[in-house]
Amino acid sequence: MIKVLFFARLQEEIGKESMEVEKAGVSVSDLKKWLAATHHLPHMTQTMAAINENYANDDDIVNEGDTIAFIPPVSGG
């Protein structure tokens, strides 16, 4: 089980702050693709990820018990 946190606009798009998924062992980019497909999230490729509060690259692996946060770019100012 891994815990997925959503921030900013993603939270609005998906309608919740977090969810738990049985996806341990996949890469960050595969998890992004899976979320994009199953939850109709069009902008996942431009979303930053952090595993256990450390910046994660697309080829990093999400392990059992990890918390991964997805942070879409905020641009305003």
């Binding site: 431009q46 509060e53 450390n54 910046y55 990093d60 905020v74 641009s75 305003g76 100012g77």
Partner: protein
């Protein structure tokens, strides 16, 4: 005013020594909107030697709920933000040299401002300019403090050339769909917190307290939820085109073509001519009066057409309000202005 900085230097993080450093430093702020204005006011009050603030827009009534430097009169008169900001900031602190520049910040014109700059503060509202700031920061070895906010969210990160990853490392491709104030709205507290975090980092840098810098990306939602701090060291890429060994600063490749740009979510197209133009507003007024009501100040001339509104800047830029269609804007521009 001998003791105007007394309380600030009494704070142990700054001290007399730190205040002396702050008084010697020069800061460039890109953008005089909500974040740029809030950062500028705090830094000017703090006694920074020189603050330069650049902005391409003019004050609009829809800015007033969050952009603290501006008044209703500025909005009524369509005063460029850089000009209105300079006036306000000069009234705040005569110790600080203040320069407001009304221009569309691009790689070439920003680079020409960097000579004595110690720090760049991001008050912009888009990633195109942030990637330019990032490349200039790397090329000239000047730290920059990113800030962005929309809705009730805000984020900030301090980029230190040679130490931290750069923006290009963090976001390998430029986001085209960032969460903006036009799509998600914005509340003033989200601005003020983001700007306060940026100014705090700026004071540490300017006072020479580099060890006290935050070193993490901070993200918060002021309406609900917990803030998140992210350790960014894994973001650094050895082959980064902006900060890696083989770098070519991809965002600094100049373009001298006439550039049309849809200002996202604002129902506005900006047209930047290939060469700098200087309009004679009184003769332009004579021409445009036949098409609609004209108003002008020394910096901007506006003309209210049937379905659109034109705003012509001294430097030749034109905003066509009332359309998101580049072709339509181009037609109007060529019919009336060339």
């Amino acid at each position: 005013m001998e003791d105007r900085y007394a309380r600030q230097q009494l704070f142990s993080g700054i001290g007399k020594e730190g205040q002396k450093h702050i008084r010697e430093k020069s800061v460039l702020i890109i953008g005089a909107g909500a974040l740029g204005g809030a950062n500028a006011e705090m830094l000017v009050r703090a006694g920074v030697r020189k603050v330069t603030i650049v902005d391409r827009d003019y004050v609009d009534a829809s800015n007033l709920h969050r952009q603290q430097l501006y008044t209703e009169q500025d909005a009524k008169d369509n005063i460029p933000k850089a000009i209105a900001a300079e006036q306000r900031l000069r009234a705040v602190n005569t110790d600080t040299e203040i320069k407001g520049i009304a221009m569309d910040a691009k790689a070439d014109n920003v680079e020409s401002l960097l000579e004595d700059v110690d720090l760049i503060v991001d008050g912009s509202d888009n990633y195109e300019i942030r990637f330019i700031i990032n490349d200039l920061s790397q090329k000239h070895h000047i730290p920059w403090i990113m800030g962005a906010c929309a809705g009730s969210n805000g984020m900030s990160y301090t980029f230190l050339p040679g130490e931290t990853p750069c923006l290009q490392c963090v976001l390998p491709s430029m986001p085209d769909v960032g969460m903006s104030c036009e799509t998600s709205g914005i509340i003033a507290p989200a601005v003020q917190i983001t700007a306060s975090i940026q100014t705090t980092e700026a004071l540490k840098l300017l006072a020479g307290r580099w060890n006290d810098l935050r070193k993490k990306l901070l993200l918060f939602d002021v309406w609900q939820g917990q803030p998140l701090s992210i350790n960014m060291f894994h973001a650094k890429k050895a082959d980064c085109p902006s900060c890696g060994e083989q770098r070519d600063y991809p965002s600094l490749r100049y373009s001298f073509e006439t550039k049309l740009e849809v200002l996202c979510g604002r129902d506005t197209v900006q047209i930047r001519p290939s060469h700098k133009k200087e309009y004679d507003f009184s003769s332009l007024e004579g021409v445009l009066e036949k098409h609609g009501k004209v108003r002008r100040n020394p910096y901007v001339l506006t003309c209210l057409l049937h379905d659109y509104r034109l705003a012509v800047f001294q430097d030749g830029r034109v905003l066509v309000h009332g359309t998101n269609e580049v072709e339509k804007a181009k037609t109007i521009y060529h019919q009336l202005l060339s």
